[in-house]
């Protein structure tokens, strides 16, 4: 199925990762090795300037009341998925400027807006909606609301996209296939 993966020019995607299903990766996004992205419940669209670190997993799960045609999962720009995090979402949309810290888990029934931080090792499994700028941290899952969105990682992205090609085999961008999927994305939104 991996022939459905569309990598836009400017994205850095390592070869050593599992991409299954209909996946679109926006320009400026960096995907580290050993990342798993599975689009079984519908296409996944990752926007610009996201960082997806090692061993993180993003699954667009099949839901019981599957729509036809399947609803895409749209992941906004400037999201950071840190090492070992796991995000299973059936909602069609993850906002922008979110940070999923190391080894956190975001269950399928969690709706994530923008500027949220899910702390290291925090497990969110109950159905809930994180409003903008929610920060969850610690083993007690303390919640607070930040005043502003998390700063973007543009410097880090710049560095990664320069350094990664020196040490990893990369997948070649095949951006020309992008147009049709983009339209379906817009519709899904």
């Amino acid at each position: 199925m991996s022939h459905n993966v569309k990598i836009l020019p400017g994205a850095t995607v390592c070869e050593d990762c599992t991409l299954e299903g209909d996946i679109t990766i926006g320009s400026g996004t960096v995907i580290h090795p050993r990342v798993t992205i599975i689009a079984e419940g519908g296409p996944i669209v990752i926007a610009e300037y996201c960082i997806i670190e090692e061993y993180s997993t993003i699954i667009h799960k099949k839901s019981d009341n599957q729509e036809n045609p399947p609803k895409p999962l749209f992941i906004g720009a400037h999201n950071v998925f840190e090492v070992g995090c796991k995000v299973e979402s059936i909602f069609g949309h993850i906002g922008e400027y979110n940070v999923f810290e190391c080894r956190c888990f975001v269950g399928p029934d969690v709706k994530i807006s923008s500027g949220c931080v899910v702390g290291a090792s925090c497990k969110l499994s109950a159905p809930q909606t994180l409003v903008d700028n929610t920060v969850i941290w610690g083993s007690d899952h303390n919640i607070r609301e930040a005043l502003e969105k998390q700063p973007s990682q543009l410097l880090q992205l710049d560095f990664l996209s320069k350094v990664m090609p020196n040490y990893h085999r990369l997948r070649k961008p095949n951006g020309h296939k992008r147009q049709p999927s983009r339209q379906s994305t817009e519709a899904g939104k």
Binding site: V117, G119, V135, W137, G138, N142, I143, R144, E145, A146, L147, E148, Q150
Partner: protein, 484 residues
């Protein structure tokens, strides 16, 4: 055997009766006894900030209320705050005119941010600072005045009590008539003595007591707002109990009123044996160093016992237990395993009474010496699991770091000693569990070690010491639970 996060399977009995893993115990080379944190004297060596590693004398620390002046803790999650830099866009100042050109360079501004909960000083509206450290606005304690008054008052009371005690003492001596007090002998008056001792004069202290106004309980208190019970609570806006208690001065009720907490200082401690006053540990003064100048830990002096494996403990059964013994000292050790009740009772030698000693004691009336007393207690030992005493005593070679690389296991082995390697050996022991042992209860076997110990403290003139000693230690070994 001690682990960071696992339970302690092997525990040693301290002289005071506490059971602790070997890593939590000290060994006094002068008393030749195991000591623990409970039965030794802890002293503050130096104050320092654990974040910026700044060292400061205790007087300065007291002045700064035991807090670092340049480091802050997060008021939201209590993690240390970090300083972050941003480039503030150069402000467009219409009045500046030509001066605007040189101001084009974006200015570096700093704010505090928490890497754990991502709280920032901007969240509560603290303006960014142009310098990286210091300069953060300080909030004054609303009760600072009252605190000052209270402090002054209690100081005065303490002063007065001291004075009263002195006076009483003097009177006592005067009645007896036999003794000449210091003031009588030298012609010093009480006031003069006080000034030489650097204490404030009694006049100022009495005025502080006279002028003090005690707080008054009020009958009428402010009423709660009408909607106190009906208003919906937004937990994200109000602070938690720990957050309020972390800054008792203002106890902010709203998240928006939180303030960075000046970081409390840490101390380096040294430990002292209560019985003989010798240091057990003494850290290096430099806060960045984790080394010790003196480090008398049991781990370096007492044979270490580790469990290799054991058979499940069943009531009325005899099972096997494999142990590993290690000699951590630089001298050969003669070890035999004995029953815990065979450990000889330590009879406390009373200090030889001498007239000089009692005279000295009478001089130090003020000094309370009760803290010097060491509690020594024999713990109650569980007896459900009995150890078969091997008819065997063995020598354990000294620790030799080079021997780690030798590969000779051609040592004598037998039924009990399974293998030897440099300063370690493995033992096979048998334990019998009582018929009555309750299933499900923890299985703890107690064994005692008798070992030879060579004292390396150089003998002094007035205390000729024997170099070789026979010491005892009692060990509790946790063997899971009793199962059917």
């Amino acid at each position: 055997m001690a682990y960071l996060i696992q339970p302690d399977y092997v525990q040693y009995f301290c002289t005071c009766g506490q059971i602790k893993p070997i890593t939590n115990l000290y060994f006094c080379r002068h008393c030749l006894k195991v000591r623990c944190g409970f039965c030794i004297c802890h002293e503050v060596d130096s104050h320092y900030c654990a974040n910026c590693l700044e060292n400061m004398p205790s007087s300065e620390a007291r002045l700064k209320k035991n807090r670092c002046s340049s480091c802050f803790d997060c008021p939201s999650c209590f993690h240390t705050l970090s300083t972050r830099a941003t480039y503030a866009p150069a402000r467009q100042d219409p009045a500046a005119g030509d001066a605007k050109v040189e101001n084009k360079q974006p200015k570096k501004m700093y704010y505090l941010s928490c890497f754990n909960c991502r709280w920032t000083s901007r969240d509560v509206g603290i303006p960014d600072q142009p310098v990286a450290s210091g300069g953060w606005p300080e909030r004054t304690n609303p009760f600072a005045n009252r605190f000052g008054q209270l402090l002054e008052y209690f100081k005065a009371i303490a002063q007065q009590e001291k004075q009263d005690k002195l006076d009483k003492e003097r009177k006592k001596y005067a009645i007896r008539g036999k003794y000449i007090t210091l003031t009588d002998k030298t012609g010093l008056t009480g006031a003069m003595a006080r000034t030489t001792a650097g204490l404030p004069s009694s006049e100022s202290s009495s005025s502080a007591i006279a002028n003090f106004v005690p707080s008054q309980a009020k009958e009428e208190v402010e009423e709660l707002p009408e909607d106190y019970h009906t208003k919906e609570v937004n937990l994200k806006l109000i602070t938690t109990m720990p957050q309020r208690l972390a800054s008792p001065e203002w106890q902010a009720q709203l998240v928006s009123r939180l303030q960075p907490i000046a970081r409390p200082l840490s101390v380096k401690r040294s430990q002292r044996c209560r019985r003989c006053d010798h240091n057990l540990t003494k850290p290096e003064y430099n806060p960045g160093s984790i080394k010790f100048k003196i480090e008398l830990l049991a781990y370096y002096h007492v044979p270490e016992v580790k469990i290799i494996s054991f058979e499940t403990i069943k009531p009325g059964c005899t099972t096997e237990l494999l142990l590993k013994l290690t000699n951590p000292t630089a001298h050969e050790m003669q070890i035999s395993i004995i029953q815990p009740d065979e450990v000889p009772e330590v009879e406390e030698k009373e200090e030889p009474k001498s007239i000089e000693k009692s005279l000295e004691k009478s001089l130090n009336l003020e000094k309370d010496t009760s803290w010097r007393q060491v509690i020594e207690r024999k713990p109650l030992l569980p007896t459900t699991i009995k150890l078969h005493k091997p008819e065997l005593s063995f020598t354990l070679a000294q620790r030799d770091d080079a021997a780690e690389y030798d590969d000779d296991s051609h040592h004598e082995t037998n039924d009990i000693i399974l293998w030897r390697k440099s300063n370690k050996l493995a033992l096979r022991l048998k334990v019998t569990t009582d018929e009555e042992a309750k299933v499900g209860s923890p299985a703890v076997a107690i064994l005692a070690l008798q070992y030879s110990y060579r004292n390396t403290v150089p003998p002094t003139a007035n205390s000729p010491q024997t170099r070789d000693h026979v010491l005892y230690t009692t060990v509790a070994i946790h063997l899971g639970t009793v199962t059917q």
